[in-house]
Symmetry: C2
Subunit: 492 residues, 2 copies
């Protein structure tokens, strides 16, 4: 679409100034409406080097109260640290909260096109990235984000003139970087790359807007026109129901919770022997994982009092504390609630070579959030697919994903609840909420069955830990972790 | 996505039957809601030969009242007659009305994949078709259609067994066609083709749903699940505001109406001489057009009493009546209003080698419908782009598109209105509505200026006919038609 672009008719200076002012006022007027509607607005600027992305952002935000926006300038290349996370990570962690603007001086386009141009991406890898980006943008817009993407366009001649002008003066020369020079030299090739990227990512949910960026004021007005129109449209669509896509992932068969044999047991003796052996093995594996830079994600879900905490401890005791983190997940903080529900997990990922153990996870979306009405039916129905996409992204990055469901029966829970209540030093572990949840056992069981069935992918399968006997469950968990880490180490 | 598809877990016979009945009831319950909401629902079935598309449709519609649906079985190949229209034509003319279901036994997928497989489509042509399809599906959903696409999937082995079974009996053998045999022989290659097509057209606005079609009842239930979910979602989103995409078409500069010089004149003598010469040329050209099978679309818009009718007559007098049609466009009939606003134009296209002259056109969307509030602002804002896409589709098909704006000034209109009112045999030509429209002259003028500017593409540019002097306007129109037809004939 970039090659087909023809500059729109520019109004006369006076008319332009008048319209620009009116558009600025309109945008300013939207601040409170966005806030009230809880609409998160991402405004992404991409385009040619020296096209004036920073300047345009400065102009556009002039009348927006600083409480309502944040400007993020993405570095052209990920840092060493960022390279240890998935490609999308450094972008997604910057998404704005509901009711606020996030302005971005370049986003994931820049990195993809430049890597492709350098020959660092094969066709296959390019397609994978494009797919990741389209999926991420859809997941954002499906969850209520407005995503406005602007490409600031200038001609080769104009770019050359700007570079020359900047180089003239000592105090502006630093603003010309090697990429700009390279881009200008190979303008037509970069044009091909940008044009292709724009076509590949120009979806209805987050379309591209190309801006004639030769004149700064005129560029500002073009952006304001589209931005105001986009906001207006989004504000009209409150509580939008999004079509549920088919969950096309290779799903492994699952058992229903009611079919699980909970009589499995270990003697204290068997337990001790196995525990020691497995922990020794895990210790060695943790080292190999670290050296091979394999990221590991261990996710725990299960009934209250099922024994998650004790189970996790038996694993962490074998690990080097510098190489793992346990993330206990409670209800989201306000700043987390104000963002995409997966954001608080994206920002808690391990870097490569490290292990993160989640004590409760993103599956809250299809359990507690579903049953307590914290999200709409449309939201949780969509979530199975979104979660599979999320885990697939982590798998493609190279992560080992181990998901545990810690299972007990209703009687065992009651016994443990009662014991907690009757033991002063355990009383903190039992709350009214636990009792309330227990009343909804059947509803939870149905939701868990559905969850296990719809998210049991071959790249991130569920493992059931039969935990009426906690000893049995602990050894089983350790065995699975050892097996999976061994497999991953041997394969790389 | 087809290759990644894994069969969903099939419920036990009894549970399946129970859920199927409940889903059927739910679907039946949607009939009146769809009617009330004015929601048009397209349910498209594609898939392998012998996968049971017809049978599945029969099962799904069982409880729907015949007043609420229509089943259309698309022929695998276009007829000779249909080949004389654009590729999309035979499909788009079948779209359902608002408040009704349209069930389709195959749609445009089948034709594309088979043509590609046969080697009849180059990569470039394939991409063009995919682009046409994605654009058409977006235009439908943007204008309120729910589009549900199902792919009925069976294995090679299953297909072979079905073919064999059908061939056994004389009265079913005819149902196996050559395509089915070919598909089974080259199953893996067709799988590649279908998989690619599904990926290329799997957009959020109209996603694909793959159905495990081995068992008929189970296939029915899978379809019902998705269909009910899709309808439920669509019904929640009344009066959806759709993001306005950028109008990225090569636009030529335009004059504002106020800048047009209306003093141009011809003497009666000049007029007669030129008229005769041009009509002679046109007569010859009409013949060449016919033999070269070039479709021609001439579109007239202009003020009331601007002289459109007389102008058109001067053209048609030179044409062979077997080769042209004049389509006078008034307000849409109820069955037209109930469909996509371009539908009544899609169904009035000329076949190749023929000429259709539209006396008023699809531009009503951004003039009368805009100003009289017959559509929402979101609708007409989107329409410039949709209209350019529509005309581009016609251009790509090979059509010559000539668009006339017949311009007069306000005084001339008043004089002509008065003359009509005072001349008994012309009184039928003037109505109260004409006077009412005249009162809104300034609003119309602004809308026309915007329309000319936003739809003046290089493949379908506007021509202004200065018609204060009708003689001048007629000759100018003829000259343009002759020039454009000549250009087209010489080029092919």
């Amino acid at each position: 679409m970039l090659k087909a672009f023809v500059k729109p008719a520019k109004p006369e200076a006076e008319a332009l100034e008048q319209e620009r002012k009116a558009a600025q006022e309109k945008l300013a007027g939207f601040q409170m409406k966005i806030k009230e509607a809880g609409l998160p607005v991402m405004v992404i600027f991409e385009g040619w080097g020296t096209a004036g992305k920073g300047g345009t952002i400065r102009r556009v935000i002039r009348n927006i109260d600083p409480r309502f926006f944040k400007v993020t300038a993405m570095a052209a290349k990920p840092s060493e640290e960022e390279l240890r996370y998935p490609f999308l990570h450094r972008y997604l962690k910057e998404i704005p909260e509901a009711g606020k603007f996030g302005f971005f001086d370049t986003f994931w386009m820049q990195e993809v096109v430049r890597e492709k141009k350098k020959g660092a991406l094969t066709e296959e890898a390019y397609h994978k990235w494009i797919n990741s980006i389209n999926t991420a943008e859809r997941s954002l817009t499906d969850n209520g984000y407005l995503v406005m993407k602007f490409f600031l366009h200038i001609s080769r001649k104009e770019q050359a003139a700007r570079i020359k002008e900047l180089q003239k003066h000592k105090d502006t020369a630093w603003r010309v970087n090697e990429e700009d020079l390279e881009e200008n030299k190979l303008y037509d090739k970069y044009l091909d790359g940008y044009d292709r990227y724009l076509d590949d990512t120009n979806r209805s949910i987050a379309p591209w807007y190309i801006i004639d960026a030769k004149d700064a004021k005129w560029a500002e007005l073009q952006v304001l026109r589209f931005l105001n129109q986009g906001i207006e449209t989004a504000l009209q669509n409150k509580a939008l129901a999004v079509p549920i896509r088919q969950n096309v992932f290779r799903l492994l068969p699952t058992k229903k919770l009611s079919e699980i044999d909970l009589n499995k047991k270990l003697t204290e003796e068997e337990y001790k022997k196995e525990l020691e052996e497995l922990q020794d093995e895990l210790r060695v594996l943790h080292n190999r994982i670290y050296r091979k830079r394999i990221p590991v994600i261990i996710a725990y879900e299960g009934w209250d009092a099922a024994g998650k905490g004790g189970n996790i401890k038996r694993i962490t005791r074998a690990l080097d504390p510098r190489g793992y983190v346990v993330e206990p997940i409670a209800s989201p903080e306000p700043h987390e609630k104000a963002r995409h529900y997966l954001w608080r997990f994206w920002t808690r990922l391990p870097k490569d070579g490290h292990i993160t153990i989640f004590d409760r996870t993103w599956y809250g979306r299809v359990m507690v959030e579903r049953l307590e009405g914290f999200c709409t039916e449309n939201d949780w129905q969509r979530a199975y697919n979104e979660i599979n996409e999320f885990e697939q992204e982590l798998h493609n990055w190279g992560a080992v994903i181990i998901k545990f469901w810690v299972q007990i029966d209703k009687d065992t829970q009651l016994a443990r609840f009662t014991e907690r209540q009757d033991t002063p030093e355990k009383q903190w572990k039992i709350t009214d909420e636990d009792w309330r949840n227990r009343e909804k056992w059947d509803e939870y069981e149905a939701a868990v069955d559905e969850m296990l069935q719809k998210t049991n992918t071959d790249f991130a399968p569920w493992h059931i830990l039969e935990s009426n006997d906690k000893l049995y469950a602990r050894i089983k968990a350790l065995r699975i972790v050892v097996k999976e880490l061994k497999k991953a180490c041997d394969a790389r």
